[in-house]
């Protein structure tokens, strides 16, 4: 009788294990790019240069604010209308002309920019605000613990700052990254571009963020970076402390 129960128990255990292996083994890790507020794709402290109005030769420089991406548009960029009369009943334009950032240049620069932070410092500032802060367009008026983040993410930041590490093709870069305790994604859902525009896109997670590397055709290294948060359980008591 006891043997019979043991056999049943073992069979049940084996069946559950097989199901778990199948479920876990078949799951695909997909990174979704997120809104402009969630994704870090440019140094937020750098001024950008553009024409004042459509067709104008006059140029202006400005640092972007969150207002730029609201549905009604902003004073900073032109709106587009349908050529024929619009039948819309609300006040929204057909489209807003807003910057679509192509990603932070790699290797990640530590050189400070005029009136701003280096790309590395600004990325650290973004990471320190945490995965729920929505500060991809404009930095917050307060800040997180940049020093702790600098320490925690040092290995990845150093990797991103090394042209050598980012070269040599996907297999070599994956091999180098594997020593940093990262998780690789199986797929990327990029809300900005068709991925076929790139020779390769490689995404890996470290701590609370995904880092997505882009390689252009005929380039021998990954040359652009986008960072998006990984949102799991929101409550995180250690993250609420000053140390």
């Amino acid at each position: 009788m006891v043997n019979h129960i043991d056999r049943m128990r073992n069979s049940l255990f084996a069946a559950v294990s097989i199901v778990l292996i199948l479920v876990v083994g078949c799951s695909t890790v997909v990174v979704h790019m997120g809104s402009p507020y969630d994704r870090y794709d440019h140094n937020r402290t750098r001024e950008i240069l553009m024409t004042a109005t459509t067709g104008s030769a006059e140029t202006v420089t400005r640092v972007l604010g969150d207002e730029v991406y609201r549905p009604s548009g902003s004073e900073y960029f032109p709106s587009a209308q349908y050529a024929e009369n619009s039948s819309s009943t609300d006040t929204l334009p057909a489209a807003n002309v807003v910057p679509l950032f192509s990603g932070v240049s790699l290797p990640l620069s530590s050189v400070p920019v005029k009136d701003g932070r280096s790309d590395r410092e600004d990325l650290i500032d973004f990471l320190a605000e945490g995965p729920y802060a929505q500060v991809g367009v404009q930095p917050g008026e307060t800040m997180g613990d940049t020093k702790s983040v600098q320490i925690a993410y040092a290995s990845v930041l150093d990797f991103l700052g090394s042209g050598e590490h980012l070269s040599g093709g996907r297999a070599q870069v994956v091999r180098r990254l594997s020593s940093l305790n990262v998780v690789f994604a199986d797929d990327v859902m990029d809300s900005r571009y068709r991925l076929r525009a790139f020779a390769d896109v490689l995404a890996f997670r470290f701590e609370k963020f995904w880092f997505i590397l882009y390689q252009l055709p005929r380039n021998d290294h990954y040359s652009r970076l986008v960072v998006v948060p990984e949102r799991r359980k929101a409550q995180d008591f250690p993250a609420k402390k000053p140390q």
């Binding site: 609201r70 729920y132 802060a133 500060v135 800040m143 997180g144 008591f237 000053p242 140390q243």
Partner: protein, 372 residues
């Protein structure tokens, strides 16, 4: 004498309060270099726990955000947003607004998992707009730093529309922030040991049986007395419903340019000389930041919510670093304190705000003297 930012804030608030027969009372103040703020540019405007609920849920719990009907807080914040814009235009000041967590009470809002789509767009739409949503809708907005409180999540999921932070530091020029803010739950033994699901269950199902202004200060145990999520010791909660604030010398009525005493606070010689358990834990936490050489080591002022009991505690130990704990209170439940001019003790809805400019930190109670 030039009007200072504190006076400008007070003037702005009184513009809204005047027609409502309202006034501002000083619950706490420290005006001293001990605060350690090297900048005169930023004005920190601190909003404590609100615990807002959609109207349907509010009716069920008979509990919640004070001065709801008069839209008092939204009116005050709209006026402050105008002041913020004028400062931005003149480029001489910067208003930095922080909501210290427990903004939307998801524990009470949803019995099961959170369903944000069920919250009507206009449920406290004015507060959501003025604090963080207006920027997307083309309206006035304070672009507040919103801290994640324990009630801001349901089964660990927060409302996606809110840009939450776990904590904040002031942005210094020299990487030495004088100010740190956290909701406070990370230093609450109860919060960090009991699973969320148990606490949420208790609040949702037992919270409705308790009178609204008494429920939150029930005790789980002697150790956690005063914490707002307990289900034990109902009797004491019912007989002791209000937060008794230590307004030293009575709460002075505040008006622009009125002379105020520089110290209205509890002063302690060492961090162990207070019954406030948060003070000791925060002080220790900053000591750890120093051991790790982190920015937290430079913090002189810690601001928090969570307890719903406003207090200002200044510790100036000999040969050790000082710390000011600024618990900004709440806009739920009641508070009790004496008026400075008469000594009369009043009990009224908690409605507190904190303001820091330069080396002057204050906690105000907003009161309506008669029903408007």
């Amino acid at each position: 004498m030039p009007i200072n930012p504190h006076d400008e804030i007070v003037s702005s608030l009184l513009e809204i309060l005047g027609p409502l027969r309202g006034e501002i009372r000083l619950l706490g103040r420290v005006s001293d270099p001990v605060i350690g703020n090297p900048s005169e540019r930023e004005v920190f405007f601190l909003i404590p726990d609100l615990h807002i609920l959609s109207p349907k849920r509010r009716q069920r719990f008979k509990y919640g955000f004070n001065h709801n009907e008069s839209r008092l807080l939204a009116g005050l914040l709209e006026r402050i947003a105008t002041l913020r814009n004028s400062w931005e235009t003149s480029r001489n000041r910067k208003l930095v607004t922080v909501q210290l967590g427990d903004f939307f009470d998801l524990w009470r809002e949803f019995s099961g998992s959170a369903k944000p789509a069920e919250i009507p767009d206009d449920a406290y739409g004015d507060l959501r707009d003025i604090l963080y949503r207006g920027v997307d809708r083309g309206g006035p907005c304070l672009k507040a730093t919103m801290l994640l409180g324990n009630h801001d999540t349901k089964r660990s999921d927060p409302l996606k529309e809110i840009p939450f932070r776990y904590k904040f530091f002031s942005r210094p020029q020299d990487e030495k922030p004088f100010l740190f803010g956290t909701h406070g739950d990370a230093f609450d033994t109860l919060e960090t040991t009991l699973p969320d699901a148990v606490e949420e269950f208790a609040v949702y199902f037992i919270g409705t049986f308790v009178e609204p202004n008494k429920y939150p200060i029930m005790e789980w145990s002697r150790k956690t007395a005063g914490i707002n999520k307990s289900i034990g010791n109902l009797g004491k909660a019912i007989t002791d419903p209000d937060h008794n604030l230590e307004a030293h010398g009575g709460a002075i009525q505040v008006s622009p340019e009125k002379s105020l005493p520089p110290f209205v606070c509890q002063e302690i010689p060492s961090p162990d000389d207070t019954a406030n358990p948060y003070f000791q834990k925060l002080y220790r936490s900053i000591a750890i930041a120093k051991e790790k050489d982190l920015p937290g080591q430079y913090v002189r002022v810690v601001t928090m919510g969570h307890t719903h009991k406003a207090s200002l505690i200044l510790c100036r130990p000999i040969r050790e670093r000082p710390m000011l704990l600024m618990d900004v209170g709440a806009w739920i439940e009641n508070c009790t304190y004496p008026l400075a001019e008469s000594g009369v003790v009043v009990t009224e809805p908690s409605a507190q705000l904190g303001v820091i400019h330069g080396n002057d930190a204050r906690i105000y109670q907003i009161r309506l003297t008669q029903a408007a």
